[in-house]
Amino acid sequence: MIDSDNAKTVESSFAQSGDGRASARVSRETISTVTVAILCVVMLLGARFISPSLGSWSQVETVLVLGSFLVVLSFGQGLVILTGGLDLSLPALITLGGILATNWIGVYDTGAWYLLPVALLICAGVGLISAIGIVWLKVPPFIMTLAMSIIVSSILLGYTKGTPRGASPDAALALMKGSVFGQPAVISFVILFVIIGWLFQSRSAIGRYLYAVGMNVDAARVAGVPVVLVQTLPYVISAVCAGLVGIMLVGYSNGATLRMGESYLLPSIAAVVIGGSSILGGSGSFLGTVGGAILLTTLGTIISAIGLEFGLRTIIEGTIVLVALLLLREEFFQKLGSLWR
């Protein structure tokens, strides 16, 4: 009745299958990152056929400098999405960072680098207000952040009386225009930022909590995760990142405008999704997001080099977000399936 031989073979096939499960999981997470990296290289090399000036080292440099804005921005957006939220206030916060850097610090003293952290703190305060609305008052994230966006934009309009003035702070200029080891300083800065961001998201205790909360808030709470803190933090970080991007942008373009952040909202979400994160939270990695940001920037550079109109560019970017979502549909539907149950 008890067929020990058969039992053994089944057990061994179970053991193998166990290992298969682990490798399948690892590959699922890395595949998107690797694919995105390969796509970037292929696109840069392929661009040479369109125009010889593309695909050169200076082109790569341009992509990295332009991509730095999106990398920093999508780190914050990625954390918010990881915990199951969405931050639509990023454009307003970019503008807030830029206006504070020029209209306030730039007018007062362009050398006052010590005021830049204060500007970021103000951004953090805005992020905290969003978080309070979302975590404590249970306002849906997209409504709360959209409302904050409108409030901040309106305040800035009043503050600048419609025309921002003032020069970029020296520190912002040094970051965006200066060079380290013969390369633009911002490249070293972004590399450092990516390392710290990756450590934070994938290797820190708080990072683990973020994944836990994004996967299942109730289970995380039972397991002793400080849920309220962990849900609040991403909005604050995201606001600071957006403020930082604002400061970087005024360093790059020598001044602020009231609409300087507008074109960054969709790319910030797209970078996260293309990087393999689930839009529903609980999965993904920052390295994937960085890949997504670089890919989008590469694409943008090539499209503008070809001379496509802005409208057409936006259509292509929107299409890419859709395609990325379709490619991720298996995981997407799994999540939907678990919600259904």
Partner: protein
């Protein structure tokens, strides 16, 4: 619907062959879920499907109901080839299932769930809410559930009621074959269920019944098929097979019963938890003490306030009045996190593994060490193998194979998930565990490991408060047992006085019942 069923009953005389599956197999990539399963279900027969977690029971059920398509194998219904491609196709052959993981849509009403996918239309062709509810109520009353309001939203109902609705829906659709996957997982009493099964049996429906509770299986089933490691081991008549035989077929070796000597808990050990006049939602003025090294069981029918009592003690639910003292200090926590850190600490093992227990995408190791991450992190960062190393000890205490620690916990079997969650509570290092149905839906082997871990924890001076829907578990584990009834402590039993009969009597509200009265109860 009933008229159809009656028709079929007349066609099929008892013991007519109904559903036959031979050599069915299913793999997911390299994972062999089912290797070679044979089963024959006959009309009017209640057939048990037995096996440990991961033996392939649920996979076989999904194949029979069309939820998944097998890689190989031959299935026949009434002598005709039967190859359902989806659940609706199986349903059109009058094969229906009540799934273990309930398949109800939580935000729809009971009636809508019962009638999906075909809702009653009004004369305008729109869905008629009134007709839907009337039809739903009719279905409910046909299956002895008149007391459930068909208009109620499913997510507002307790788990047990949801399970009954799931079963009622399958009864409604099962003209020929009814498959019940762990129907008693959240039902504390079986009277209603067994009455419905007998009714279906009388109609000539072939019933496949899956449960880990052998006593139940013996009561309702006549034949059992045992699966192990994805293969059918045997089909036996339950009259001839002893419990020992069946366990041996399930696990492949004889099971030794561990019955720890009842620990004598006298008044000399320290009081760890003192609860006085605790009132909360559904908890009505409860007072008790839990001492060092004591295992205190809670027995109750479903929804008698046990869930709320545990959640209040764990910091998940606010208390209205009363005091909870831990190590002599009045507790003032309102989150599980605070409860973990208050004095010698309290850790809660929740009832629903999937919704409140596991974090499916994280590794088993991370799941185990989640509450103590700050402790194993260096300057806030976690080394590559730090989690695995920290989880290893706790995994050993529950007999969990170390190699599972690296897998995403969602990919593990239910038994290993539960072991990991049990390991988590032990790893926290707290002195009091609140275990809510710690062995729900797990196999015999896992149960023994969890019992051993609970025993060892208490032997080292830990205190355990546990609720179980399985009385033999309380009889085996508890040093003392309190029976809850209607949110109050109804009766308390100590040591040798804890017996299934007495507990059952107290659970249904009988005081001073004698054993003879109970035999009939």
């Amino acid at each position: 619907m009933t008229s159809v069923a009656v028709q079929i009953a007349t066609q099929a005389s008892p013991s007519t062959l109904e559903l036959r599956a031979y050599g069915v197999s299913k793999s997911y990539g390299a994972t062999v879920a089912l290797e070679h399963a044979d089963i024959v279900l006959r009309a009017g027969e209640v057939h048990a499907l037995l096996g440990e977690n991961g033996a392939g029971k649920s996979t076989l059920v999904r194949i029979l109901t069309g939820a998944i398509v097998p890689d190989q194998g031959d299935m026949q219904l009434h002598g005709k080839p039967y190859q359902p491609q989806n659940i609706l196709e199986a349903r059109s052959h009058q094969v229906a299932t009540a799934f273990q993981e309930l398949s109800l849509v939580p935000n729809l009403s009971v009636a809508q769930n019962l009638l999906l996918p075909k809702l009653e239309k009004s004369s305008l062709g729109l869905i008629s809410a009134r007709k839907v509810i009337a039809k739903g109520q009719e279905i409910l009353s046909r299956h002895g559930l008149e007391r459930i309001d068909a208009a109620a939203i499913v997510s507002d109902l307790p788990l047990a009621e949801r399970q009954r609705i799931e079963i009622a829906r399958s009864l409604e659709n099962a003209g020929r074959v009814l498959i019940l996957d762990e129907p008693t997982a959240s039902l504390a009493e079986t009277d209603w269920l067994f009455a419905q099964i007998r009714k279906a049996q009388a109609r000539g429906v072939a019933v496949l019944y899956i449960s880990h509770r052998l006593a139940e299986v013996r009561e309702i089933c006549t034949v059992a098929t045992v699966l192990r490691n994805g293969r059918t081991i045997a089909t036996v008549g339950l009259e001839e097979a002893s419990d020992g035989d069946i366990f041996e077929m399930m696990v492949g070796h004889p099971v030794e019963k561990i019955r720890p000597d009842a620990r004598a808990i006298d008044g000399t050990t320290q009081k760890r938890i003192v609860v006085e006049n605790l009132c909360s939602d559904k908890v009505d003025n409860i007072s008790f003490e839990l001492r060092e090294g004591e295992i205190l069981g809670i027995a109750a029918l479903e929804a008698q306030g046990q869930r709320e009592l545990f959640r209040t003690l764990a910091g998940l639910q606010t208390r209205q009045s009363g005091t909870i003292k831990i190590d002599g200090k009045p507790a003032k926590f309102n989150s599980p996190r605070d409860a973990l850190q208050f004095e010698s600490g309290i850790c809660f093992l929740p009832e629903e593994r999937k919704t409140e227990g596991i974090l499916a995408g994280l590794s088993a190791a991370t799941n185990v060490v989640l509450p103590l991450l700050p402790r194993i992190a260096r300057a806030g960062f976690i080394g590559r193998d730090a989690e695995r190393n920290a989880a290893r000890g706790a995994a050993g205490q529950v007999d969990m194979d170390e190699r599972y620690l690296d897998f995403a916990i969602g990919d593990l079997s239910g038994g290993n998930q539960q072991k990991a969650l049990m390991a988590r509570t032990l790893a926290t290092g707290v002195k009091t565990l609140l275990l809510f149905d710690p062995t729900r839906g797990v196999d015999v082997g896992t149960k023994e490991s969890i019992y051993a871990a609970i025993g060892a924890f208490a032997d080292q001076g830990g205190s355990v408060l546990f609720y179980s829907s399985e009385l033999p578990e309380i009889v085996q584990l508890a040093d003392r047992c309190m029976v809850l009834y209607n949110g109050r402590i109804f009766q308390e039993f100590v040591g040798r006085d804890i017996s299934e009969q007495r507990l059952v009597a107290a659970m249904i509200g009988h005081h001073n019942a004698t054993e003879t009265v109970l035999e009939t109860a």
